[in-house]
């Protein structure tokens, strides 16, 4: 299988005043197309930093990243925007929904940025996919945590990306709701999407094909799961 995400010798150094913090140290990482990968590790191990670099939200200090065959180093912000739009869907721990937009409008938002119009059918499809067909006209404030995360997943899916990157997607949810979100992830993976999920929850992390462990900015281990 070909690597849809291929990272080589990734380093990320943050500067805070005079202090330098190495969040990633020579990370070599590959995710094949259609794979479901979990990343675990203690706080400060570099999980989120890695996910952000993989999603082109942040640039590596050194090293290379190839996404769906495209080398990302040296790309302009506008090119990265296009690459993100076409290939990546993001899911965040805090959902980050727009409070004044309904569930349907939140899901529609990426289409507005992609200049795609007349999307009613596609939005209905996605609402159905995330199990919120009857909640489309509700504002985020009227939805439960699990429902809000489903809206966020719908938003990540609307442009039909090949890769879904999720940063602690169940961090704010109870165990039952978390289980349901993972069921949804597995369903998306069954449809052929590549998923990379950062989590603290070992039990849920074990539901992926592979589980990487990060420690002090380095890959400390990789375990193949019985998917």
């Amino acid at each position: 299988m070909s690597g849809i995400i291929v990272a080589e010798n990734l380093c990320k150094v943050y500067r805070r005043g005079r202090e330098e913090i190495s969040a990633l140290k020579n990370v070599n990482f590959q995710v094949d197309e259609g794979e479901f990968v979990s990343i675990i590790g203690p706080s400060g191990s570099g999980k989120t930093a890695l996910l952000n670099v993989l999603g082109c939200l942040d640039t590596p200090t050194s090293g290379t990243l190839r996404l769906n065959g495209t080398e990302t180093s040296g790309m302009k912000e506008s090119e990265l925007v296009r690459l993100r739009r076409q290939n990546i869907g993001f899911v965040f721990q805090q959902f980050y929904l727009m409070p004044t937009l309904t569930a349907r409008e939140n899901i529609e938002l990426p289409l507005l940025f992609s200049r795609k119009t007349d999307n009613k059918k596609r939005i209905d499809e996605v609402l159905q996919m995330v199990g919120l067909s009857d909640r489309g006209d509700h504002l985020p404030g009227q939805l439960s945590g699990g429902e809000m995360q489903r809206v966020a997943i719908g938003r990540a899916l609307i442009n039909d990306p090949k890769i879904i990157l999720a940063d602690e997607p169940t961090g704010n949810l109870d165990s039952v709701t978390s289980g349901k979100i993972y069921e949804l992830f597995r369903k998306l993976n069954d449809q052929g999407r590549t998923l990379v999920v950062v989590t603290h929850n070992l039990e849920l992390a074990r539901q992926a094909h592979k589980m990487y462990t990060l420690r002090d900015g380095r890959i400390a281990g990789c375990e193949e799961m019985d998917y």
């Binding site: 952000n52 999603g55 939200l57 942040d58 912000e77 506008s78 925007v81 993100r84 739009r85 869907g89 993001f90 965040f92 980050y96 727009m98 409070p99 004044t100 937009l101 409008e105 529609e108 938002l109 990426p110 507005l112 940025f113 992609s114 938003r155 990540a156 442009n159």
Partner: protein
């Protein structure tokens, strides 16, 4: 959904702040719109008022000619007088079509309705010459003749105000028992408010036999106005004012007052603009993380900038619409305020509303939005997604 609905929904999140900003813009646009509409209306009304006199040159006693001319237009007492000799001298000048003598005087009489003492203006006139000067005059009843005594014409506005009818008599004051033989049909100018009696009667009542306050001159050829006024100035006692001079002077005085008002408005607009920029910057700073998320889900810097700009234009355009409506609806109040600030105001309505002006106010409000929104839009568009998300978390 499009960028405009997204911008509108974002603004509704901070209703109070948005409303206050919109009101700030609305006030600035109201003042701007009012001033511009007054500017065009002012000159139009002033022209109309001066033309309604039907004269090209006024001869008044030596003194302040502009004050005297203004009194002639609006009514008032000129404390100096010209004589029949002055009138003959004026009439002897070549090129004059008409030289009409008038004695203008103020008098006090009780109001028919309220019983209070009210100042009134009366003109002693030569009726045939006056009618030649003002061919648009028509009358209900009849005109008096120059030889009649104890007869009077009144303007329609005055008659309506005081319930005066043809055949009734003036109940009090120095003209007590003068019979109203005619009521001038509405002219739309100051004549609607005046009393008119034969010149000799006015001179008799005020003990000013042989005296007049004004000679209104109509020339045969307007290109000769400067020559004729120069010749008139050679007559002792007479000061000459041409209508062009009156208008020029008034427009100069009004121009200074307007410059002052414009400066105040410019300052108000600048303050308003900084208010908008400040509100937007606050809003941009508060939403840094949100912009980061938008970038993560596919928005470009240009998209974010466009959204912020759309929000600004939304605010200023709403302010523009509200401000323009307020200016149209409240034009009377604003006119009253401006009248108090200008050295001379015509009697007619000074607010002249035109579709072009409304268009200008709205385009101006959009331009204001673009100017105010550029910096916040630029600032928000430059954020990298991770910086934005992280700064929002701190």
């Amino acid at each position: 959904m499009n960028f405009l609905t997204l911008a509108a929904k974002n603004l509704l999140r901070r209703r109070g702040r948005t409303l206050l900003t919109v009101l700030g813009v609305a006030i600035a646009i109201t003042v701007l719109f009012s001033l511009l509409s007054l500017n065009s209306g002012y000159q139009k009304e002033l022209n109309k008022e001066v033309n309604s006199l039907g004269v090209h040159i006024l001869a008044v006693p030596k003194g302040c000619p502009y004050e005297a001319a203004s009194l002639v237009i609006h009514g008032g007492v000129i404390p100096k007088y010209l004589t029949a000799t002055d009138l003959d001298n004026v009439r002897s000048i070549e090129g004059i079509e008409l030289a009409v003598p008038m004695l203008m005087h103020q008098f006090i009489r009780k109001d028919n309705k309220t019983g209070q003492d009210v100042p009134h203006i009366i003109f002693g006139i030569k009726i045939d010459e006056e009618r030649e000067l003002k061919p648009w005059w028509t009358v209900e009843g009849r005109y008096f003749t120059d030889n009649e005594t104890r007869v009077m014409l009144v303007g329609r506005g005055l008659a309506d105000k005081e319930n005066l009818t043809v055949g009734s008599k003036i109940p009090s004051g120095p003209f007590k028992d003068f019979a109203i033989v005619g009521i001038l049909n509405r002219t739309g100018d100051q004549d609607d408010q005046f009393h008119f009696v034969p010149l000799t009667e006015a001179q008799r009542v005020f003990n000013k036999e042989g005296k007049i306050t004004t000679i209104a001159v109509k020339v045969r050829d307007v290109s000769q106005i400067s020559r004729i006024s120069a010749e008139m100035e050679r007559i002792p006692d007479i000061q000459v004012v041409t209508m062009t001079q009156i208008m020029g002077t008034i427009m100069n005085l009004a121009g200074s007052a307007r410059s002052l008002l414009l400066t105040v408005i410019a300052i108000a607009l600048i303050i308003s603009a900084f208010g908008i920029i400040n509100t937007l910057l606050m809003s941009v700073n508060e939403r840094t993380r949100e912009f980061g998320v938008m970038k993560a889900i596919g928005a470009s810097g240009l998209d974010i900038g466009k959204m912020v700009l759309a929000e600004t234009v939304f605010i200023t355009f709403s302010g523009g619409v509200i401000g323009t409506i307020a200016a149209v609806v409240g034009s009377r109040v604003i006119e009253g305020f401006v009248r108090g600030m200008l050295p001379y105001s015509p009697r007619g309505t000074m607010v002249s509303l035109s579709p072009e002006l409304i268009g200008f106010a709205l385009v101006f409000s959009i331009a204001l939005g673009i100017v105010c929104g550029i910096y916040p839009a630029f600032k928000s568009s430059r954020l990298t997604p991770m910086e934005a998300i992280r700064s929002g978390l701190e």
